[in-house]
């Protein structure tokens, strides 16, 4: 506790000693914050974080101001350490008597820092998610597919904002309820939409593991008879002369399969 240190120094030495200690703390804080700044910089370089955030909108707009994401976070951390040192020094020197005020600040400063960090990480993660999804969907030449990336991006922005606001002590219950409803709706709707896919996938796993029939077997499913050409997770392709049936795997399960040995 900074207050105790101040009192201890005062009791052991004198008022001047306390002032000297305060100045030392100030200087040490400056040195430490510089090292923190350097360390974060090299950390970003070593772990390849710089490449990971490359191309996001946040990184680009930060670049325009002549710095980088790593630089901003490093500066933020350095500033945080230095502010802490100033507060401790002030407390030791008893330059300011608003003890209650300063303890408030020391309690709220980390929260503010986390809030800013959450916003930065949210902005980057959101952009990155959009870029990744866009790359994945590039082979699908469908303009509507790009909305998926935007959905992911804004979902992440929303969550980041929620974390930041909660850190600052703003009442976020209503926003949380909204998030819950949104998440539920997403899961529910995707569940309904993908119901058949799930059923086909479950059947497909069995078919792939056990292989009751394989490529080249002649089979009959319902009234479709032919040679199996391909079995994958979701469908079985059966071919006869000139016709190819693409049978969903759950239908293979439901109606059973007849292998023809002749």
């Amino acid at each position: 506790m900074p207050i105790d240190v101040g009192r201890l120094v005062r009791r052991l030495f004198s008022e001047e000693a306390a002032f000297t200690v305060a100045v030392t703390i100030l200087l040490t804080g400056a040195v430490i914050s510089y090292f923190v700044w350097r360390w974060v910089h090299s950390l970003f370089e070593r772990t390849g974080m710089n490449d990971a955030v490359e191309g996001t909108a946040f990184e680009r707009s930060v670049n325009r101001f002549g710095t980088s994401t790593g630089g901003i976070i490093a500066t933020l951390l350095g500033l945080f350490v230095y502010t802490l040192a100033i507060i401790v020094a002030f407390n030791v020197a008893r330059l300011l008597d608003y003890e209650v005020f300063w303890t408030q600040v020391t309690r709220n400063l980390p929260r503010l820092f986390i809030a800013v960090l959450a916003i930065i990480i949210g902005l980057i993660a959101g952009d990155k998610a959009k870029i990744v999804i866009k790359e994945r969907l590039r082979s699908v030449k469908l303009p509507e597919a790009s909305i998926l990336g935007d959905i992911a991006k804004y979902s992440i922005f929303y969550i980041a904002a929620l974390i930041a606001l909660a850190q600052l002590g703003v009442a976020t219950t209503a926003l949380l309820v909204l998030l819950g409803a949104y998440a539920f709706g997403l899961v529910f709707l995707v569940g309904i939409a993908a119901k058949d896919f799930l059923a086909a996938g479950a059947a497909g796993i069995y078919l792939l593991l056990i292989e009751p029939y394989t490529i080249g077997d002649e089979v009959r499913i319902d009234d479709k008879r032919g040679i199996v050409q391909e079995v994958d997770m979701f469908v079985t392709r059966i071919e006869t002369d000139g016709e190819e049936y693409i049978v969903p795997n759950q239908q293979v399960f439901r109606s059973g399969i007849i292998r023809i040995r002749s």
């Binding site: 292989e211 490529i215 080249g216 077997d217 199996v228």
Partner: protein, 270 residues
């Protein structure tokens, strides 16, 4: 030098389209503003051209590269039969454009080189991956000794019904696809086995050790090729499959489709 300049002018006169083999956007931009149609050909569309023909392999020989570009552009209806085409490409390994070829689009025989990759039953990616495996195998061989191999790609159901196993199938109940990183090593090991590899449309390796039993009548492949090539040619005539053969004797990779030899590559050049 006037004679040379006139000669060049004559070569580039009245052309309908330019096939540009480049990955360099600076080169492309010089042509983009021109009135003549410019079609970029390359392994990837690095210059983001509107009219693009994708090469599945870096064809090292000029003939294959130009043929593929022309057939691809014709298939996509970027050029018409009878068009005068100018191909700008690289002949040596310099990477710069150093060769100008003028052809008429219907002047050459349609070999089906483009169809081999794009309009086969199997996915284009699968055909390309098998080619890469065969080239790799041809380059390194098995423990330094040349090996031969026969891959039958696509229409696997029919191929399986026109062949019989020589031994137990090592790929039974496995789900290995060509293009998986482990496959090169596996196929290299299995290549000392006799028989053919059967690969499905989607790239799953269905079987090794297959003895192909197609009807070989009427298969016309160049004389001097062995039983492996004959089997490859015959199976592609009987089914809709594509066969890719690595020759043990001369180390060449050859592709057959519909009973005919379509493509011949030397793995050492890749």
């Amino acid at each position: 030098m006037t004679g040379l300049g006139e000669m060049l002018d004559e070569v580039v006169e009245d052309i309908d389209a330019v096939l540009l083999y480049t990955q360099d956007s600076g080169t492309f931009e010089r042509f983009d503003n021109d009135d003549t149609e410019t079609i970029v050909v390359g392994t990837e569309n690095a210059v983001e051209a509107d009219q693009f023909v994708s090469l599945p392999l870096e064809f090292n020989d000029l003939d294959g590269r130009i043929r593929y570009g022309l057939e691809g552009a014709m298939d996509a209806e970027l050029i018409d039969e009878g068009d005068e085409i100018l191909c700008l490409t690289t002949f040596m390994d310099s990477g710069d454009i150093d060769t100008i070829v003028r052809v008429r689009a219907d002047e050459f025989t349609h070999t089906g080189l483009y169809d081999l990759f794009v309009n086969s039953r199997a996915d284009p990616d699968v055909v390309r991956d098998v080619f890469e495996v065969a080239i790799e195998l041809g380059k390194k061989g098995q423990k330094g000794k040349p090996v031969g191999a026969l891959f039958v790609v696509g229409d696997a159901g029919k191929v399986m019904n026109k062949s019989r196993p020589l031994s137990y199938n090592p790929f039974e109940k496995s789900h290995v696809h060509v293009g998986d990183p482990i496959v090169n090593v596996m196929l290299k090991e299995f290549s000392r086995l006799d028989g053919a590899f059967v690969i499905s449309d989607g790239g799953k390796i269905v079987s090794a050790y297959r003895y192909l039993e197609p009807a070989a009548e009427g298969v016309d492949i160049p004389k001097g090729l062995g039983a492996r090539h004959m089997a490859a040619g015959a199976i592609t005539r009987d089914t809709n499959a594509t066969a890719i053969v690595l020759s043990e004797s001369d180390g060449m990779v050859r592709a057959f489709k519909a009973g005919e030899l379509i493509l011949e590559l030397d793995p050492e050049e890749y």
